[in-house]
C-alpha cells in the first residue's frame, strides 16, 4: 500500500515552500494570486519499498510537479547521502513508517523513471542529475539520453515539445531528437531526448576563439585584422556551418507552421515565420557531426494565467530576428572576453573583438544565405541582408544599454 493521497499532499506543500525554484517562480507573481494549494493529480508509479509517486499540486492555478520517493527510514540515509535537502518527511504506507523525499535524489528511482517516462521503451544503467532549474531538472542516462523533468507544468503540448515534434515530422535532423514524452492528465510531465556526449555549447567555442585572438597580444605581426586568422578565422568556418543549419531550421519551421506575409512597401520579400525566438550561442551545440539546435527555451512564465494567451500564441517574425539574436550573442560573448582582459589592453582588444564579430557575423549570414530555397524567406541580396541584420543587432544593443 502506498502512502495516502492526503499524506502525500501534506508533505509536498511544505516541501514546495522550501524550494528555491518554487520561491523563485512565486516571487514573479502577486502574492494575492497564490491562493490555496490542492492536490491536482496523483499517480503511484512504483508501489512498494522503495516506491515512487508523481504528484501535481496547484498553488492558486499554477501547477507544480514533484516526484516523491520513499523507503524504510533506515535505508534512506545510505541512498540520499549528503542530499538531505531532498527529504520531505515521514508518513505511513500501511506497513509502517517510510521516509519520503524528492525521488530525483535517489539513483535507483531516477533510473527507473526513464522506463516510466518512455512507456517502457527505454532503460538505463546509470543516471546523473546535471541541472536543476526553476522550470525543470535534467537527468542524463548512460550518457545516451537526457530527461527534462518539468517542475512548473502547463497544458500539453508544451511549446518546446510541439516544436520538436513538428520539426521531426518535417524531417529536420539537426536537433537533439525527442525520444519519449511523459504526458498525464493534460500536462507534459517529462521529455526524453537524445544526449550527445562531447557536445559543446557554441558559447564555449566562441570563447575559445576569442581567447586565442585576444591572447596573441604582443605578436603584432599576427594582429592584422584582414588576415583570416587575425580576426578569429578559426571560428568563421564554424559560423558558416551554423548559418547553414539555421537556414535549414527556418525552412523546416516554415514548412511546419506556414509562412505569413508581412505588410510592406519596399522590401522585395518580407515574410514572417515561426522563429526559434530565443536563439543564442547557448542554444546550439557543436558535436562531432556538426551543429545541432539544442533547445527552444522553456520560460517558466509560460502557462501563467494572464500571460497565457500571449505566450501560447506562437511567435511569428522575420527569420532575420533569429540571426540577429545569434549575432547579438556573438557581440555579448566578445564583450565578455574583452572584459576578462587587463584594462590596459581594452582598446586593442575591443578593436579585435569588433573585427571578430564582423567576420563571424558575415560567415553566419553567408552560410545562411547559401542554403537552397532560403530566398523564399529572406532577400538573398547579401549586402541588403547584412544591413538589415546589422540594424537588428544594433537595436538589441541599444535596448540593453
Amino acid at each position: 500500500m502506498p502512502p495516502t493521497p492526503g499524506a502525500l499532499e501534506e508533505l509536498v506543500v511544505p516541501y514546495l515552500e522550501r524550494q528555491p525554484w518554487f520561491l523563485a517562480d512565486m516571487a514573479r507573481f502577486d502574492r494575492s494570486l497564490r491562493g490555496a494549494s490542492r492536490l491536482a493529480d496523483l499517480e503511484i508509479v512504483f508501489d512498494g519499498r522503495p516506491g515512487l509517486a508523481s504528484v501535481v499540486v496547484t498553488v492558486g492555478d499554477r501547477p507544480f510537479h514533484v516526484l516523491v520517493g520513499w523507503r524504510e527510514p533506515a535505508h534512506a540515509p545510505a541512498v540520499l547521502g549528503s542530499r538531505q535537502g531532498a527529504v520531505l518527511g515521514v508518513c505511513d504506507d500501511g506497513a509502517g513508517e517510510v521516509l519520503c523525499y524528492d525521488a530525483l535524489a535517489d539513483e535507483e528511482l531516477a533510473t527507473g523513471l526513464l522506463a516510466v517516462a518512455s512507456a517502457g521503451h527505454e532503460s538505463a544503467r546509470r543516471v546523473r542529475l546535471v541541472q536543476s532549474l526553476v522550470s525543470h531538472a535534467s537527468l542524463v542516462y548512460d550518457e545516451r539520453l537526457f530527461m527534462k523533468s518539468y517542475r512548473v507544468l502547463e497544458p500539453a503540448p508544451r511549446p518546446e515539445i510541439e516544436l520538436l515534434l513538428k520539426l521531426d515530422e518535417v524531417g529536420f535532423e539537426h536537433l537533439l531528437g525527442a525520444v519519449a514524452r511523459w504526458e498525464r492528465s493534460g500536462w507534459d510531465l517529462a521529455l526524453v531526448r537524445e544526449f550527445i556526449p562531447g557536445a559543446v555549447e557554441g558559447r564555449a567555442l566562441a570563447l575559445t576563439s576569442l581567447r586565442d585572438l585576444l591572447g596573441r597580444g604582443a605578436d603584432e605581426q599576427r594582429l592584422r585584422s584582414d588576415e583570416v586568422g587575425g580576426a578569429g578565422g578559426d571560428l568563421s568556418s564554424e559560423m558558416r556551418r551554423l548559418g547553414e543549419i539555421t537556414g535549414s531550421l527556418h525552412l523546416a519551421l516554415a514548412e511546419a507552421f506556414g509562412v505569413r506575409r508581412l505588410p510592406t512597401d519596399d522590401a522585395p520579400v518580407a515574410v514572417a515565420i515561426r522563429v526559434h525566438g530565443d536563439y543564442h550561442l547557448r542554444r546550439v551545440l557543436r558535436t562531432d557531426a556538426g551543429w545541432v539546435v539544442a533547445g527552444f527555451g522553456d520560460d517558466p512564465l509560460i502557462g501563467r494565467s494572464g500571460v497565457d494567451a500571449e505566450r501560447r500564441e506562437p511567435r511569428f517574425a522575420s527569420p532575420l530576428e533569429d540571426l540577429a539574436d545569434l549575432s547579438y550573442s556573438l557581440r555579448q560573448v566578445a564583450a565578455e572576453a574583452v572584459d576578462a582582459r587587463p584594462p590596459a589592453t581594452w582598446d586593442q582588444a575591443r578593436r579585435l573583438a569588433k573585427s571578430w564579430e564582423r567576420r563571424n557575423r558575415g560567415s553566419l549570414l553567408g552560410g545562411y544565405l547559401g542554403v537552397e530555397g532560403i530566398g523564399d524567406l529572406v532577400a538573398e541580396d547579401r549586402s541588403a541582408a547584412a544591413t538589415s541584420l546589422e540594424t537588428l543587432v544594433a537595436d538589441r544593443s541599444a535596448r540593453t544599454t
Binding site: E143, P197, A204, T208, E227, G233, S237
Partner: protein
C-alpha cells in the same frame, strides 16, 4: 622475427637513404652509411625503417621517377649493400620496408624508351598512348602547380601519353597482362632479398577507365588482392602499406576484407591534428575520428605528422585550406601544390611544447606511428630549395663539418645541410641532443618506450570521452576483453621497451590478478593556456588512475565528473583499471 602481426604494434621511421649518412665521402648518403647508423635507429626505439626510393632515377621527383626497378642506385651502393643493411637490421629486430612505385616509371626507364620508339614495338602497349588528349576528361590534375594536363605529346611516336603525376612519369598500362607480370616480378625480387614489405606509392591510380575519376577502380583492388595472396602464400611476415590520399570511406576499401593491404596511411587525420592545435579545440580531430570506420581484423592505420612530401591539404575543405595556409604558410614559398612544405619544427614555430603535444597525439591515436627522419631532433627545413627538397636535407649528426653527415666537400653534397641560427646543425644535431638529457630526442625516446609497454596504444579500441572544455581532447584506448584473461598490465604483454615489441601473444592478462581490463586514458590540452576539464569516467568509478611516465597515482574516480587541470599544451597518459 616470426610475428605476422608485428606492424600493428610497430613504430616506423621513414628515412631518405641519400640523406642519412654518407660512408664514402661522395656527398650522398648510402647503404653502407645507413648500416653504420643502425645503432642510433635501434637506440631510438624504432621497429621498422621505411626506405624512400633507392632505385636508379634521374631524380626529377625525389627518386619516385624510377628508371630501373631491379637494382640500387649506384651512388647508394649495390644490392649487396642493401642486403647487408637488411641482415644487420634483422639482427637487431628492426625490419626494413621499401618504397615501391607501381603506377608509373621514369621517362628514362628502358620500358618507356622502347615504348615511345614506335607504335609497334614489343612494349608499345606497356604505357597509355592516345592520338588525342581528350580521354579521361573527368580526371583531376594532381600537380596542378606545374602540369597543365594529364596528357603529354611525344614527338617521336606522335601520340599523347597519360601521366597522373609529372609529365616525365608515364603511367604503366595495367590492362596489359605483361605489365602486371613484370611488376609482380619486381615485388618477388625484393621480397626474395629479404625486404619486409612495401610502402606502395600512388596506389589508387593503377587502373583507368573512361567516364570515371580513374581512382579506386575495382580492377586496382583486384590486383592488390593478387599481390596480397602471393605474400600470404610465399612471404610470411611481410606487409603492404598503401599510400591512398583519400577520404576514410575510400581508404577503407584498400584493406579489402583483410585481403588487400595490411596498412594504409590515415591522410585526413594529419592536417587536422595541426588544425586542432592552431584552433585550440578538439573538433577537427574528433570529427574525423567519428568518420573513420572500424578496420577489418589484422589491419592497421599508419599515422604521421610529417613526411617527405608536403603537408597535404587535399583532404580538407577549401575554407579550411585557406585557414591552414594563413596559419602555417604565411610565405608563399612555404606552399606547394595543395599543401605546405615544411618540417614539423617549423610548422610549430619551434615550440617544443607543441611538438610534444603533437607527438603525444601521434603515439596514442589509433594506428602505427610513422616518424620522419630528423623530426626526432626537431630539425628544420629550407624553403629556398626547390620542390620538396626543403624537407629532405641531410640528417644532422654532429656540430662538425656538413653536420657530420659527410666528409665530402660542402659543394659536393646532394643538398646543403641546414645552417640557419635556429635549426642549423651547429645547434640541432644527434650528438648534442643525446648528450642533453632533457632534449626533445630523449623525451621522444622515453615516450616510445612507454608506448611499447602498453599494447592498448597499438590495438586498443578508441573511445573519445566527453569533456566540457572544447580545448581538451580526452580519449581512452582499451584492450578488447579476452575470454579467460584477467586483464592487462605493463610488462605482461607487448614486451619491454625496445624494438619489435615482444611476443604477439594476447594483450592483457596478468595471471592471478583480480584486476579488470586495463585502459589507457590520454588527455591533451590543445591550448597554449592552462585549462581545466571535467571528464565523465563512470565506468571507472572507484579506480585510481596512474600516470604512465612517473607512475604517479591520481585521485580516485568517483560518481562525480573527474576534474583535471592541464598545463599549456599539456598531455597526460593515465592507466585505468576497471573493477
Amino acid at each position: 622475427m616470426d610475428d605476422p602481426r608485428w606492424y600493428e604494434r610497430a613504430v616506423f621511421y621513414e628515412l631518405l637513404p641519400r640523406g642519412f649518412y654518407d660512408s664514402n665521402a661522395d656527398g650522398i648518403g648510402d647503404f653502407q652509411g645507413l648500416r653504420e647508423k643502425l645503432d642510433y635507429v635501434e637506440w631510438l626505439g624504432v621497429d621498422c625503417v621505411w626506405l624512400l626510393p633507392f632505385y636508379p632515377s634521374p631524380l626529377h621527383d625525389g627518386g619516385y621517377d624510377i628508371s630501373d626497378f631491379l637494382t640500387v642506385a649506384p651512388e647508394l651502393g649495390n644490392t649487396a649493400d642493401l642486403v647487408a643493411v637488411i641482415e644487420e637490421a634483422h639482427r637487431r629486430g628492426i625490419r626494413i620496408i621499401s618504397d615501391l612505385v607501381m603506377n608509373h616509371t621514369s621517362d628514362q626507364h628502358p620500358w618507356f624508351v622502347e615504348s615511345r620508339s614506335s607504335r609497334d614495338n614489343p612494349k608499345a602497349d606497356w604505357f597509355m598512348w592516345s592520338d588525342d588528349d581528350h580521354g579521361f576528361g573527368d580526371v583531376r590534375v594532381i600537380f596542378s602547380d606545374v602540369e597543365p594536363s594529364n596528357w603529354t605529346f611525344d614527338q617521336r611516336r606522335q601520340q599523347y601519353y597519360w601521366h597522373r603525376f609529372f609529365h616525365h612519369q608515364p603511367d604503366l598500362n595495367y590492362d596489359n597482362p605483361e605489365v602486371v607480370d613484370a611488376m609482380l616480378g619486381v615485388v618477388r625480387f625484393w621480397l626474395d632479398l629479404g625486404i619486409d614489405g612495401f610502402r606502395l606509392d600512388a596506389v589508387p591510380y593503377l587502373y583507368k577507365a573512361e567516364g570515371t575519376s580513374c581512382e579506386n577502380l575495382p580492377a586496382t583492388h583486384q590486383l592488390l588482392r593478387r599481390i596480397r595472396a602471393e605474400i600470404d602464400a610465399s612471404y610470411p611476415n611481410r606487409i603492404l602499406l598503401a599510400e591512398v590520399n583519400q577520404w576514410p570511406d575510400a581508404v577503407i576499401e584498400y584493406f579489402g576484407d583483410g585481403d588487400e593491404c595490411h596498412m594504409c596511411f590515415n591522410f585526413p587525420l594529419m592536417p587536422r591534428m595541426f588544425m586542432a592545435v592552431r584552433r585550440e579545440q578538439r573538433f577537427p580531430i574528433t570529427e574525423i575520428l567519428a568518420q573513420t570506420p572500424d578496420l577489418p581484423d589484422g589491419c592497421q592505420w599508419g599515422i604521421f605528422l610529417r613526411n617527405h612530401d608536403e603537408l597535404t591539404l587535399e583532404m580538407v575543405t577549401d575554407e579550411e585550406r585557406d585557414y591552414m595556409y594563413s596559419e602555417y604558410a604565411r610565405d608563399p614559398r612555404m606552399r606547394k601544390n595543395l599543401g605546405i612544405r615544411r618540417r614539423l619544427a617549423s610548422l610549430v614555430d619551434n615550440d617544443r611544447r607543441v611538438a610534444e603535444l603533437l607527438h603525444g597525439l601521434l603515439l596514442s591515436l589509433p594506428g602505427s606511428p610513422v616518424l620522419y627522419y630528423g623530426d626526432e631532433l626537431l630539425m628544420g627545413d629550407n624553403i629556398y630549395l626547390g620542390d620538396r627538397d626543403g624537407v629532405r636535407t641531410p640528417m644532422q649528426w654532429t656540430p662538425d663539418r656538413n653536420a657530420g653527415f659527410s666528409r665530402a666537400d660542402f659543394a659536393q653534397l646532394y643538398l646543403p645541410p641546414l645552417m640557419d641560427p635556429v635549426h642549423g646543425y651547429q645547434a640541432v644535431n644527434v650528438e648534442a641532443e643525446q648528450r642533453d638529457p632533457s632534449s626533445f630526442l630523449h623525451w621522444l625516446r622515453r615516450m616510445l618506450a612507454v608506448r611499447h609497454q602498453y599494447p592498448q596504444f597499438a590495438t586498443g579500441s578508441l573511445e573519445v570521452l566527453p569533456a566540457d572544455n572544447p580545448s581538451v581532447l580526452a580519449y581512452v584506448r582499451r584492450v578488447k576483453a579476452m575470454p579467460g584473461s584477467a586483464g592487462g598490465s605493463p610488462g605482461s604483454a607487448g614486451g619491454s621497451p625496445g624494438p619489435a615489441g615482444g611476443s604477439p601473444g594476447p594483450v592483457g592478462g596478468s595471471p592471478g590478478s583480480d584486476r579488470g581490463p586495463t585502459s589507457v586514458m590520454c588527455v591533451s590540452n590543445l591550448s597554449r593556456f592552462a585549462q581545466p576539464a571535467e571528464l565523465s569516467l563512470g565506468r571507472w568509478e572507484g579506480c585510481s588512475p596512474i600516470e604512465l611516465l612517473g607512475r604517479v597515482p591520481f585521485p580516485r574516480v568517483t560518481s562525480a565528473p573527474y576534474s583535471v587541470t592541464l598545463a599549456p599544451y599539456g598531455i597526460y597518459w593515465l592507466e585505468l583499471v576497471e573493477r
